[in-house]
């Protein structure tokens, strides 16, 4: 059974800190790994990763995938209170569906 494990489950930091969120996975016929940000109800797309070692960046957020070790990290530098959210990792595999992890709840205090 496909599995996605995120750590930590929750994290509290101060504005300006840098955080690293982790996502490990076990999936048959891996195709892609996606990161989403969920603030209220609808998850919003951040990144999709398919190749190892290629960093994707968007402003203060970046992510990289290691297909040999079966994990990905999401980095957020110079955190702001607006970064407070649940960050979801999802993996697509041979069954053609996305399997989501439980998420990491990030709280950024002023």
């Amino acid at each position: 059974e496909d599995k996605v494990v995120q750590s930590p489950l929750s994290l509290v930091v101060h504005e300006g800190d840098t955080v690293t969120l982790n996502c490990s996975y076990e999936v048959t016929n891996f195709r892609s790994l996606l990161w989403y940000k969920q603030e209220k109800k609808a998850p919003t797309f951040l990144f999709m990763l398919t190749s190892s070692g290629i960093e994707k960046k968007s402003g203060r957020l970046s992510s990289i995938l290691d297909k040999k070790e079966l994990f990905s990290i999401l980095n957020i530098t110079a955190t702001q209170t607006g970064d407070s959210a649940v960050y979801l990792c999802a993996v697509g595999g041979g069954s053609e569906k996305l399997v989501f992890g439980k998420g990491t709840k990030l709280t950024v205090n002023p």
Partner: protein, 116 residues
């Protein structure tokens, strides 16, 4: 990208009743999915809504409880039947414009159901 509209955005329902959630996409999409997110939990896939044929349900979900329609490439409905308090969740519609479900998934705003 795709913009997905869901309604109702929230509802309070009585035990034993049924509620239908509608999902409208602003463009034709290949794949549409329905997810459930119970309080404090991650997203669990209920089913894939197939255009013109019966939905494909995940383990633990059945058509009698969660009937799904998808009459065309832009619209789908999910009915939560004979509701109980355990059905209190956020129900999310999602769509993938590309092939299969391993491309970027777009989500609707979700429908928060509370069953009393």
């Amino acid at each position: 990208s795709a913009v997905i509209s869901q309604k109702p955005s929230r509802d309070i329902c009585q035990r034993g009743t049924s509620l239908t959630i509608q999902c409208q996409v602003d463009s034709q999409v290949t794949m549409m999915f329905w997810y459930r997110q119970q309080p404090g939990q991650s997203l669990t896939l209920i089913a894939t809504a197939n255009q013109g044929s019966e939905a494909t349900y995940e383990s633990g979900f059945v058509i009698d409880k969660f009937p799904i329609s998808r009459p065309n490439l832009t619209f789908s409905t999910l009915t939560v039947s004979n509701m109980s308090p355990e059905d209190s969740s956020i129900y999310l519609c999602s769509a993938s414009p590309g092939q299969g479900s391993t491309g970027e998934l777009f989500f609707g705003e979700g429908s928060r159901l509370t069953v009393l």
